[in-house]
Subunit: 249 residues, 2 copies
DNA sequence: TTCGGACTCCCGTTCAACGGGAGTTCGCTC
DNA sequence: GAGCGAACTCCCGTTGAACGGGAGTCCGAA
Protein backbone atom coordinates (compact mmCIF):
# COMPACT_ATOMS: atom_id res chain seq x y z
CA UNK A 1 0.00 0.00 0.00
CA UNK A 2 2.42 2.59 1.22
CA UNK A 3 5.02 2.74 -1.49
CA UNK A 4 7.34 4.89 0.59
CA UNK A 5 9.77 2.67 2.44
CA UNK A 6 10.43 4.72 5.56
CA UNK A 7 7.98 5.61 8.29
CA UNK A 8 4.90 7.11 6.76
CA UNK A 9 2.19 7.40 9.34
CA UNK A 10 -0.99 9.34 8.96
CA UNK A 11 0.51 12.08 11.08
CA UNK A 12 3.64 12.31 8.98
CA UNK A 13 1.54 12.64 5.91
CA UNK A 14 -0.56 15.33 7.49
CA UNK A 15 2.59 17.30 8.17
CA UNK A 16 3.79 16.69 4.62
CA UNK A 17 0.53 18.00 3.28
CA UNK A 18 0.69 21.13 5.40
CA UNK A 19 4.28 21.67 4.38
CA UNK A 20 3.31 21.93 0.74
CA UNK A 21 2.04 25.35 1.72
CA UNK A 22 4.64 28.10 1.77
CA UNK A 23 4.47 31.82 2.48
CA UNK A 24 4.27 32.41 -1.25
CA UNK A 25 1.94 29.54 -2.02
CA UNK A 26 -0.92 29.85 0.40
CA UNK A 27 -3.72 28.43 -1.71
CA UNK A 28 -3.59 25.25 -3.75
CA UNK A 29 -5.90 22.73 -5.34
CA UNK A 30 -6.15 19.26 -3.87
CA UNK A 31 -4.45 17.89 -6.95
CA UNK A 32 -1.47 20.23 -6.53
CA UNK A 33 -1.10 19.21 -2.91
CA UNK A 34 -1.20 15.58 -3.92
CA UNK A 35 1.49 16.05 -6.50
CA UNK A 36 3.76 17.96 -4.17
CA UNK A 37 3.23 15.54 -1.28
CA UNK A 38 3.64 12.54 -3.53
CA UNK A 39 0.16 11.13 -3.10
CA UNK A 40 -2.01 9.30 -5.63
CA UNK A 41 -4.81 11.48 -6.89
CA UNK A 42 -7.69 9.71 -5.22
CA UNK A 43 -5.85 9.62 -1.94
CA UNK A 44 -4.95 13.27 -2.14
CA UNK A 45 -8.55 14.24 -2.66
CA UNK A 46 -9.76 12.10 0.18
CA UNK A 47 -7.10 13.35 2.58
CA UNK A 48 -7.70 16.97 1.71
CA UNK A 49 -11.40 16.39 2.22
CA UNK A 50 -10.75 14.95 5.66
CA UNK A 51 -8.57 17.86 6.63
CA UNK A 52 -11.17 20.33 5.47
CA UNK A 53 -13.78 18.48 7.50
CA UNK A 54 -11.54 18.70 10.55
CA UNK A 55 -11.05 22.42 9.97
CA UNK A 56 -7.31 22.16 9.46
CA UNK A 57 -7.73 23.34 5.89
CA UNK A 58 -10.24 25.87 4.57
CA UNK A 59 -11.85 25.46 1.18
CA UNK A 60 -12.57 28.71 -0.61
CA UNK A 61 -15.29 29.40 -3.14
CA UNK A 62 -13.73 27.27 -5.86
CA UNK A 63 -12.02 24.03 -5.08
CA UNK A 64 -8.89 25.68 -3.75
CA UNK A 65 -7.81 25.21 -0.15
CA UNK A 66 -5.62 27.07 2.30
CA UNK A 67 -4.36 26.38 5.78
CA UNK A 68 -7.25 26.76 8.18
CA UNK A 69 -7.72 29.20 10.98
CA UNK A 70 -8.48 26.26 13.19
CA UNK A 71 -4.87 25.23 12.92
CA UNK A 72 -3.74 28.68 13.93
CA UNK A 73 -6.00 28.52 16.94
CA UNK A 74 -4.58 25.13 17.89
CA UNK A 75 -1.03 26.26 17.36
CA UNK A 76 -1.34 29.23 19.65
CA UNK A 77 -1.72 26.70 22.42
CA UNK A 78 2.00 26.39 21.91
CA UNK A 79 3.09 28.11 25.05
CA UNK A 80 6.67 28.51 23.99
CA UNK A 81 6.28 30.65 20.91
CA UNK A 82 3.49 32.69 22.42
CA UNK A 83 5.17 33.34 25.74
CA UNK A 84 8.43 34.26 24.08
CA UNK A 85 6.66 36.65 21.78
CA UNK A 86 4.73 38.27 24.62
CA UNK A 87 7.84 38.59 26.72
CA UNK A 88 9.88 40.07 23.90
CA UNK A 89 7.51 42.49 22.21
CA UNK A 90 7.84 45.42 24.61
CA UNK A 91 11.62 45.21 24.56
CA UNK A 92 11.62 44.91 20.79
CA UNK A 93 9.49 47.99 20.49
CA UNK A 94 11.97 49.93 22.56
CA UNK A 95 14.86 48.75 20.39
CA UNK A 96 13.02 49.59 17.25
CA UNK A 97 12.12 53.07 18.50
CA UNK A 98 15.76 53.87 19.28
CA UNK A 99 17.57 52.15 16.44
CA UNK A 100 14.94 52.74 13.78
CA UNK A 101 15.70 49.57 11.84
CA UNK A 102 14.17 46.11 11.44
CA UNK A 103 14.10 44.35 14.78
CA UNK A 104 13.63 40.59 14.91
CA UNK A 105 12.99 37.72 17.28
CA UNK A 106 14.04 34.21 16.31
CA UNK A 107 14.21 30.80 17.93
CA UNK A 108 15.89 27.53 17.08
CA UNK A 109 13.53 25.07 15.43
CA UNK A 110 14.33 22.02 13.35
CA UNK A 111 17.95 23.15 13.01
CA UNK A 112 16.98 26.46 11.48
CA UNK A 113 16.34 29.96 12.74
CA UNK A 114 12.58 30.51 12.84
CA UNK A 115 11.51 34.13 13.01
CA UNK A 116 8.68 34.60 15.48
CA UNK A 117 8.31 38.32 15.20
CA UNK A 118 9.59 41.24 13.25
CA UNK A 119 9.07 44.93 13.73
CA UNK A 120 9.82 46.78 10.54
CA UNK A 121 10.79 50.34 10.36
CA UNK A 122 9.36 52.43 7.54
CA UNK A 123 12.66 54.24 7.08
CA UNK A 124 14.60 51.01 6.93
CA UNK A 125 15.31 49.20 3.70
CA UNK A 126 13.83 46.00 2.39
CA UNK A 127 14.27 42.87 4.43
CA UNK A 128 14.39 39.25 3.45
CA UNK A 129 13.03 37.70 6.61
CA UNK A 130 9.38 37.51 7.38
CA UNK A 131 7.36 36.24 10.29
CA UNK A 132 7.41 32.46 10.28
CA UNK A 133 10.23 32.66 7.78
CA UNK A 134 13.38 30.63 8.24
CA UNK A 135 17.07 31.08 7.63
CA UNK A 136 20.02 28.71 8.00
CA UNK A 137 21.72 28.90 11.38
CA UNK A 138 25.19 29.49 9.96
CA UNK A 139 24.16 32.48 7.87
CA UNK A 140 21.71 34.63 9.81
CA UNK A 141 23.11 36.61 12.74
CA UNK A 142 20.22 35.30 14.83
CA UNK A 143 21.10 31.81 13.75
CA UNK A 144 24.72 32.17 14.77
CA UNK A 145 23.89 33.20 18.33
CA UNK A 146 21.29 30.46 18.57
CA UNK A 147 23.84 27.95 17.39
CA UNK A 148 26.65 29.28 19.57
CA UNK A 149 24.63 28.74 22.71
CA UNK A 150 22.87 25.55 21.64
CA UNK A 151 23.52 21.94 22.60
CA UNK A 152 26.69 20.45 21.19
CA UNK A 153 24.57 17.86 19.39
CA UNK A 154 22.82 20.55 17.39
CA UNK A 155 26.10 22.21 16.50
CA UNK A 156 27.58 18.94 15.28
CA UNK A 157 24.51 18.09 13.26
CA UNK A 158 24.45 21.47 11.57
CA UNK A 159 28.17 21.70 10.93
CA UNK A 160 28.48 18.25 9.43
CA UNK A 161 25.90 19.00 6.82
CA UNK A 162 26.70 21.16 3.78
CA UNK A 163 26.40 24.85 4.62
CA UNK A 164 24.29 26.70 2.11
CA UNK A 165 25.76 29.82 0.54
CA UNK A 166 23.36 32.77 0.42
CA UNK A 167 25.81 35.47 -0.67
CA UNK A 168 29.51 35.62 -1.47
CA UNK A 169 30.09 36.56 2.18
CA UNK A 170 28.23 33.62 3.70
CA UNK A 171 30.69 31.44 5.61
CA UNK A 172 30.35 27.91 4.29
CA UNK A 173 33.46 26.34 5.76
CA UNK A 174 32.68 24.45 9.00
CA UNK A 175 36.03 25.44 10.52
CA UNK A 176 35.33 29.11 9.93
CA UNK A 177 31.90 28.81 11.44
CA UNK A 178 33.32 27.01 14.44
CA UNK A 179 35.73 29.87 15.00
CA UNK A 180 32.90 32.35 14.70
CA UNK A 181 30.84 30.42 17.24
CA UNK A 182 33.68 30.44 19.75
CA UNK A 183 34.00 34.16 19.23
CA UNK A 184 30.26 34.61 19.73
CA UNK A 185 30.42 32.72 23.00
CA UNK A 186 33.28 34.95 24.14
CA UNK A 187 31.69 38.26 23.14
CA UNK A 188 28.03 37.43 23.69
CA UNK A 189 26.97 38.84 20.35
CA UNK A 190 27.58 38.50 16.64
CA UNK A 191 27.93 40.88 13.73
CA UNK A 192 27.21 39.26 10.38
CA UNK A 193 28.01 41.56 7.47
CA UNK A 194 26.37 40.50 4.24
CA UNK A 195 25.97 36.85 5.16
CA UNK A 196 22.29 36.79 4.25
CA UNK A 197 21.97 39.78 2.01
CA UNK A 198 24.89 41.71 0.48
CA UNK A 199 23.55 45.13 1.37
CA UNK A 200 22.87 44.56 5.04
CA UNK A 201 24.53 43.55 8.28
CA UNK A 202 22.83 41.55 10.99
CA UNK A 203 23.58 42.19 14.64
CA UNK A 204 22.28 39.67 17.14
CA UNK A 205 22.40 38.78 20.82
CA UNK A 206 21.10 35.72 22.64
CA UNK A 207 18.25 35.57 25.12
CA UNK A 208 19.51 32.96 27.55
CA UNK A 209 17.89 30.71 30.11
CA UNK A 210 19.18 29.81 33.55
CA UNK A 211 21.32 27.05 32.06
CA UNK A 212 22.97 29.49 29.68
CA UNK A 213 21.37 28.13 26.55
CA UNK A 214 19.94 30.54 24.01
CA UNK A 215 16.16 30.30 24.10
CA UNK A 216 15.85 33.01 21.48
CA UNK A 217 17.82 35.59 19.55
CA UNK A 218 17.15 39.28 19.17
CA UNK A 219 18.57 40.93 16.10
CA UNK A 220 18.64 44.13 14.13
CA UNK A 221 19.25 44.44 10.42
CA UNK A 222 21.40 47.44 9.53
CA UNK A 223 22.67 48.80 6.23
CA UNK A 224 25.96 47.09 5.38
CA UNK A 225 28.37 49.78 6.54
CA UNK A 226 26.35 51.36 9.33
CA UNK A 227 27.81 51.62 12.83
CA UNK A 228 26.70 48.78 15.07
CA UNK A 229 27.41 50.17 18.52
CA UNK A 230 23.98 51.62 19.25
CA UNK A 231 22.16 48.53 18.00
CA UNK A 232 24.37 46.28 20.07
CA UNK A 233 23.85 48.27 23.22
CA UNK A 234 20.09 48.35 22.76
CA UNK A 235 19.93 44.66 21.97
CA UNK A 236 21.89 43.76 25.07
CA UNK A 237 19.52 45.74 27.24
CA UNK A 238 16.53 44.23 25.49
CA UNK A 239 17.84 40.70 25.93
CA UNK A 240 18.22 41.23 29.66
CA UNK A 241 14.69 42.66 29.81
CA UNK A 242 13.31 39.63 28.01
CA UNK A 243 15.18 37.29 30.32
CA UNK A 244 13.68 39.07 33.30
CA UNK A 245 10.19 38.96 31.75
CA UNK A 246 10.51 35.23 31.10
CA UNK A 247 11.75 34.59 34.59
CA UNK A 248 8.93 36.58 36.11
CA UNK A 249 6.14 35.35 33.84
CA UNK B 1 -12.60 -1.11 17.16
CA UNK B 2 -13.66 2.47 17.43
CA UNK B 3 -16.15 2.47 20.25
CA UNK B 4 -17.25 6.02 19.53
CA UNK B 5 -20.30 5.94 17.30
CA UNK B 6 -19.87 9.17 15.35
CA UNK B 7 -17.11 9.97 12.89
CA UNK B 8 -13.80 9.53 14.60
CA UNK B 9 -11.02 9.65 12.08
CA UNK B 10 -7.38 9.91 12.93
CA UNK B 11 -7.50 13.58 12.04
CA UNK B 12 -10.44 14.24 14.32
CA UNK B 13 -8.63 12.60 17.13
CA UNK B 14 -5.52 14.60 16.49
CA UNK B 15 -7.56 17.76 16.79
CA UNK B 16 -9.20 16.47 19.95
CA UNK B 17 -5.80 15.81 21.45
CA UNK B 18 -4.55 19.28 20.61
CA UNK B 19 -7.71 20.79 22.02
CA UNK B 20 -7.02 19.33 25.42
CA UNK B 21 -4.41 22.08 25.63
CA UNK B 22 -5.71 25.45 26.78
CA UNK B 23 -4.03 28.77 27.44
CA UNK B 24 -3.92 27.87 31.12
CA UNK B 25 -2.96 24.24 30.62
CA UNK B 26 -0.04 24.24 28.25
CA UNK B 27 1.80 21.17 29.49
CA UNK B 28 0.25 17.81 30.26
CA UNK B 29 1.22 14.19 30.69
CA UNK B 30 0.21 11.68 28.09
CA UNK B 31 -2.17 10.12 30.56
CA UNK B 32 -3.93 13.42 31.21
CA UNK B 33 -4.35 13.99 27.51
CA UNK B 34 -5.76 10.53 27.12
CA UNK B 35 -8.28 11.05 29.87
CA UNK B 36 -9.41 14.39 28.56
CA UNK B 37 -9.62 13.19 24.98
CA UNK B 38 -11.35 9.99 26.01
CA UNK B 39 -8.69 7.58 24.82
CA UNK B 40 -7.64 4.27 26.35
CA UNK B 41 -4.33 4.55 28.13
CA UNK B 42 -2.24 2.52 25.75
CA UNK B 43 -3.70 4.35 22.79
CA UNK B 44 -3.10 7.72 24.38
CA UNK B 45 0.53 6.95 24.96
CA UNK B 46 1.03 5.67 21.45
CA UNK B 47 -0.71 8.63 19.86
CA UNK B 48 1.20 11.16 21.93
CA UNK B 49 4.40 9.39 20.99
CA UNK B 50 3.51 9.64 17.31
CA UNK B 51 2.74 13.33 17.60
CA UNK B 52 6.01 13.97 19.38
CA UNK B 53 7.82 12.09 16.62
CA UNK B 54 6.10 14.25 14.04
CA UNK B 55 7.06 17.39 15.95
CA UNK B 56 3.50 18.47 16.62
CA UNK B 57 4.07 18.02 20.32
CA UNK B 58 7.26 18.69 22.27
CA UNK B 59 8.32 16.50 25.15
CA UNK B 60 10.10 18.31 27.95
CA UNK B 61 12.65 16.88 30.34
CA UNK B 62 10.17 14.73 32.25
CA UNK B 63 7.37 12.97 30.48
CA UNK B 64 5.29 16.08 30.03
CA UNK B 65 4.41 17.41 26.60
CA UNK B 66 3.31 20.72 25.15
CA UNK B 67 2.16 21.87 21.75
CA UNK B 68 5.12 21.92 19.44
CA UNK B 69 6.76 24.78 17.67
CA UNK B 70 6.44 22.81 14.49
CA UNK B 71 2.72 23.27 14.67
CA UNK B 72 3.15 27.00 15.05
CA UNK B 73 5.39 27.04 12.02
CA UNK B 74 2.83 25.10 10.02
CA UNK B 75 -0.03 27.25 11.18
CA UNK B 76 1.59 30.46 10.11
CA UNK B 77 1.15 29.19 6.60
CA UNK B 78 -2.42 30.21 7.24
CA UNK B 79 -2.47 33.21 5.02
CA UNK B 80 -5.65 34.64 6.40
CA UNK B 81 -4.68 35.14 10.02
CA UNK B 82 -1.17 36.26 9.16
CA UNK B 83 -2.15 38.71 6.45
CA UNK B 84 -4.87 40.20 8.59
CA UNK B 85 -2.49 40.60 11.49
CA UNK B 86 0.18 42.20 9.32
CA UNK B 87 -2.30 44.55 7.75
CA UNK B 88 -3.81 45.55 11.08
CA UNK B 89 -0.81 45.93 13.36
CA UNK B 90 0.32 49.42 12.29
CA UNK B 91 -3.21 50.80 12.55
CA UNK B 92 -3.68 49.12 15.91
CA UNK B 93 -0.49 50.67 17.20
CA UNK B 94 -1.76 54.09 16.23
CA UNK B 95 -5.07 53.51 17.99
CA UNK B 96 -3.32 52.25 21.08
CA UNK B 97 -0.97 55.23 21.17
CA UNK B 98 -3.86 57.68 21.04
CA UNK B 99 -6.48 55.95 23.14
CA UNK B 100 -4.10 54.34 25.61
CA UNK B 101 -6.28 51.31 26.28
CA UNK B 102 -6.34 47.64 25.20
CA UNK B 103 -6.70 47.42 21.44
CA UNK B 104 -7.80 44.16 19.86
CA UNK B 105 -8.20 42.41 16.54
CA UNK B 106 -10.70 39.57 16.18
CA UNK B 107 -12.09 37.42 13.42
CA UNK B 108 -15.04 35.07 13.08
CA UNK B 109 -14.06 31.44 13.51
CA UNK B 110 -16.21 28.44 14.35
CA UNK B 111 -19.08 30.75 15.34
CA UNK B 112 -17.00 32.55 17.92
CA UNK B 113 -14.86 35.66 18.04
CA UNK B 114 -11.21 34.60 17.87
CA UNK B 115 -8.74 37.22 19.00
CA UNK B 116 -5.75 37.37 16.69
CA UNK B 117 -3.91 40.19 18.34
CA UNK B 118 -4.05 42.42 21.34
CA UNK B 119 -2.00 45.42 22.24
CA UNK B 120 -2.20 46.05 25.95
CA UNK B 121 -1.63 49.36 27.55
CA UNK B 122 0.26 49.43 30.82
CA UNK B 123 -2.02 52.14 32.19
CA UNK B 124 -5.14 50.21 31.25
CA UNK B 125 -6.78 47.79 33.62
CA UNK B 126 -6.90 44.02 33.49
CA UNK B 127 -8.40 42.39 30.46
CA UNK B 128 -10.10 39.08 30.00
CA UNK B 129 -9.25 38.45 26.39
CA UNK B 130 -5.93 37.09 25.29
CA UNK B 131 -4.36 36.25 21.99
CA UNK B 132 -5.95 33.13 20.58
CA UNK B 133 -8.68 33.51 23.17
CA UNK B 134 -12.31 33.29 22.21
CA UNK B 135 -15.52 34.97 23.24
CA UNK B 136 -19.13 34.38 22.22
CA UNK B 137 -20.30 36.51 19.32
CA UNK B 138 -23.33 37.90 21.11
CA UNK B 139 -21.35 39.16 24.09
CA UNK B 140 -18.07 40.66 22.93
CA UNK B 141 -18.25 43.97 21.10
CA UNK B 142 -15.97 42.47 18.44
CA UNK B 143 -18.33 39.54 18.18
CA UNK B 144 -21.34 41.74 17.65
CA UNK B 145 -19.85 43.57 14.70
CA UNK B 146 -18.59 40.32 13.23
CA UNK B 147 -22.06 38.85 13.58
CA UNK B 148 -23.86 41.93 12.29
CA UNK B 149 -21.95 41.83 9.02
CA UNK B 150 -21.75 38.04 8.66
CA UNK B 151 -23.76 35.68 6.47
CA UNK B 152 -27.38 35.25 7.45
CA UNK B 153 -26.68 31.55 7.96
CA UNK B 154 -24.17 32.29 10.69
CA UNK B 155 -26.54 34.69 12.40
CA UNK B 156 -29.35 32.15 12.42
CA UNK B 157 -27.11 29.41 13.71
CA UNK B 158 -25.81 31.54 16.55
CA UNK B 159 -29.15 33.04 17.51
CA UNK B 160 -31.01 29.76 17.61
CA UNK B 161 -28.59 28.33 20.10
CA UNK B 162 -28.70 29.29 23.79
CA UNK B 163 -26.84 32.55 24.40
CA UNK B 164 -24.40 32.27 27.23
CA UNK B 165 -24.59 34.89 29.97
CA UNK B 166 -21.20 36.27 31.02
CA UNK B 167 -22.41 39.12 33.23
CA UNK B 168 -25.78 40.49 34.32
CA UNK B 169 -25.58 42.87 31.36
CA UNK B 170 -24.94 40.23 28.67
CA UNK B 171 -27.90 40.16 26.29
CA UNK B 172 -29.18 36.59 26.13
CA UNK B 173 -32.52 37.13 24.43
CA UNK B 174 -32.29 36.47 20.68
CA UNK B 175 -34.78 39.24 19.90
CA UNK B 176 -32.68 41.78 21.79
CA UNK B 177 -29.54 40.68 20.01
CA UNK B 178 -31.31 40.90 16.65
CA UNK B 179 -32.26 44.50 17.42
CA UNK B 180 -28.69 45.25 18.43
CA UNK B 181 -27.38 43.74 15.19
CA UNK B 182 -29.74 45.89 13.12
CA UNK B 183 -28.52 48.92 15.03
CA UNK B 184 -24.91 47.92 14.44
CA UNK B 185 -25.53 47.64 10.72
CA UNK B 186 -27.10 51.10 10.72
CA UNK B 187 -24.38 52.80 12.78
CA UNK B 188 -21.35 50.82 11.68
CA UNK B 189 -20.15 50.29 15.21
CA UNK B 190 -21.17 48.86 18.56
CA UNK B 191 -20.77 49.89 22.18
CA UNK B 192 -21.11 46.99 24.60
CA UNK B 193 -21.13 48.15 28.23
CA UNK B 194 -20.39 45.37 30.67
CA UNK B 195 -21.44 42.51 28.38
CA UNK B 196 -18.21 40.60 28.93
CA UNK B 197 -16.92 42.10 32.12
CA UNK B 198 -18.89 44.34 34.47
CA UNK B 199 -16.19 46.94 34.84
CA UNK B 200 -15.48 47.58 31.19
CA UNK B 201 -17.08 48.63 27.95
CA UNK B 202 -16.13 47.28 24.55
CA UNK B 203 -16.19 49.51 21.50
CA UNK B 204 -15.84 47.82 18.13
CA UNK B 205 -15.97 48.52 14.41
CA UNK B 206 -15.88 46.13 11.47
CA UNK B 207 -13.13 45.75 8.89
CA UNK B 208 -15.13 45.02 5.77
CA UNK B 209 -14.36 43.42 2.43
CA UNK B 210 -15.58 44.52 -0.97
CA UNK B 211 -18.81 42.56 -0.48
CA UNK B 212 -19.50 44.39 2.76
CA UNK B 213 -18.90 41.44 5.01
CA UNK B 214 -16.85 41.86 8.15
CA UNK B 215 -13.51 40.12 7.68
CA UNK B 216 -12.35 41.25 11.10
CA UNK B 217 -13.25 43.50 14.01
CA UNK B 218 -11.15 46.13 15.71
CA UNK B 219 -12.05 46.94 19.27
CA UNK B 220 -10.97 48.88 22.30
CA UNK B 221 -11.73 47.99 25.90
CA UNK B 222 -12.52 51.04 28.03
CA UNK B 223 -13.42 51.46 31.70
CA UNK B 224 -17.18 51.08 32.08
CA UNK B 225 -18.17 54.76 32.22
CA UNK B 226 -15.41 56.25 30.08
CA UNK B 227 -16.33 58.40 27.07
CA UNK B 228 -16.27 56.44 23.85
CA UNK B 229 -16.04 59.18 21.23
CA UNK B 230 -12.25 59.20 20.84
CA UNK B 231 -11.98 55.43 20.69
CA UNK B 232 -14.73 55.26 18.09
CA UNK B 233 -13.15 57.87 15.89
CA UNK B 234 -9.75 56.21 16.07
CA UNK B 235 -11.20 52.78 15.39
CA UNK B 236 -13.07 54.03 12.34
CA UNK B 237 -9.90 55.50 10.93
CA UNK B 238 -7.96 52.35 11.71
CA UNK B 239 -10.56 50.13 10.06
CA UNK B 240 -10.35 52.14 6.86
CA UNK B 241 -6.56 51.90 7.00
CA UNK B 242 -6.71 48.14 7.39
CA UNK B 243 -9.17 47.85 4.53
CA UNK B 244 -6.80 49.83 2.34
CA UNK B 245 -3.83 47.71 3.43
CA UNK B 246 -5.71 44.50 2.65
CA UNK B 247 -6.77 45.81 -0.72
CA UNK B 248 -3.23 46.86 -1.57
CA UNK B 249 -1.47 43.82 -0.12
C1' DT C 1 -16.67 18.04 -30.37
C1' DT C 2 -12.72 16.46 -28.30
C1' DC C 3 -9.43 16.56 -24.87
C1' DG C 4 -7.33 17.03 -20.29
C1' DG C 5 -7.46 18.04 -15.64
C1' DA C 6 -9.87 18.31 -11.21
C1' DC C 7 -12.66 15.99 -8.68
C1' DT C 8 -16.05 12.24 -6.85
C1' DC C 9 -17.50 7.67 -6.00
C1' DC C 10 -17.01 2.75 -5.63
C1' DC C 11 -15.08 -1.32 -3.82
C1' DG C 12 -11.96 -5.36 -2.91
C1' DT C 13 -7.61 -5.76 -0.53
C1' DT C 14 -4.65 -5.40 3.24
C1' DC C 15 -1.92 -3.79 6.75
C1' DA C 16 -1.43 -0.41 10.21
C1' DA C 17 -3.80 1.12 13.98
C1' DC C 18 -6.17 -0.55 17.87
C1' DG C 19 -6.42 -1.57 22.70
C1' DG C 20 -6.49 -5.24 26.30
C1' DG C 21 -3.25 -6.82 29.21
C1' DA C 22 1.06 -7.79 31.39
C1' DG C 23 5.24 -5.81 32.96
C1' DT C 24 8.41 -1.93 34.60
C1' DT C 25 9.57 2.16 36.93
C1' DC C 26 8.93 5.65 40.06
C1' DG C 27 7.38 8.18 43.96
C1' DC C 28 4.48 8.37 47.89
C1' DT C 29 2.57 6.73 52.26
C1' DC C 30 2.25 4.20 56.28
C1' DG D 1 10.76 -1.36 53.16
C1' DA D 2 6.55 -3.13 51.90
C1' DG D 3 2.59 -1.82 49.63
C1' DC D 4 0.21 0.94 46.45
C1' DG D 5 -1.17 3.65 42.56
C1' DA D 6 -0.09 6.19 38.54
C1' DA D 7 2.53 6.85 34.37
C1' DC D 8 4.41 4.66 31.06
C1' DT D 9 6.23 0.84 27.77
C1' DC D 10 5.90 -3.34 25.26
C1' DC D 11 3.60 -7.17 23.11
C1' DC D 12 0.44 -9.20 20.03
C1' DG D 13 -3.91 -11.10 17.92
C1' DT D 14 -7.78 -8.92 15.76
C1' DT D 15 -10.10 -6.14 12.52
C1' DG D 16 -12.01 -2.42 10.26
C1' DA D 17 -10.52 1.79 8.38
C1' DA D 18 -7.55 3.59 5.15
C1' DC D 19 -5.78 2.72 0.71
C1' DG D 20 -5.66 3.49 -4.14
C1' DG D 21 -6.79 1.64 -8.82
C1' DG D 22 -10.24 2.55 -11.79
C1' DA D 23 -14.43 4.24 -13.78
C1' DG D 24 -17.35 8.08 -14.15
C1' DT D 25 -18.74 13.24 -13.92
C1' DC D 26 -18.02 17.97 -14.70
C1' DC D 27 -16.06 21.87 -16.79
C1' DG D 28 -13.34 24.80 -19.52
C1' DA D 29 -10.15 25.24 -23.31
C1' DA D 30 -8.82 24.23 -27.96
Amino acid sequence: MANSPTGDSVTDRLVRVLETFTPTRTVQTAAEIGRRAGLPSSTAHRVVGDLVAAGLLDRDGDGRVSVGLRLWALATRSSHALRMRQAALPAMERVQARVREHTQLAILEQDEALFLERLSHPEAGANITRIAGRLPLHAASSGLVLLAFADRAVQERVLTRPLRRLTAATPTDPATVRRTLAEVRRLGHVIAPGYVDVVSTGVAVPVRDAAGRATAALSVVLPREAPTALALEELRGAARAVERALGAG
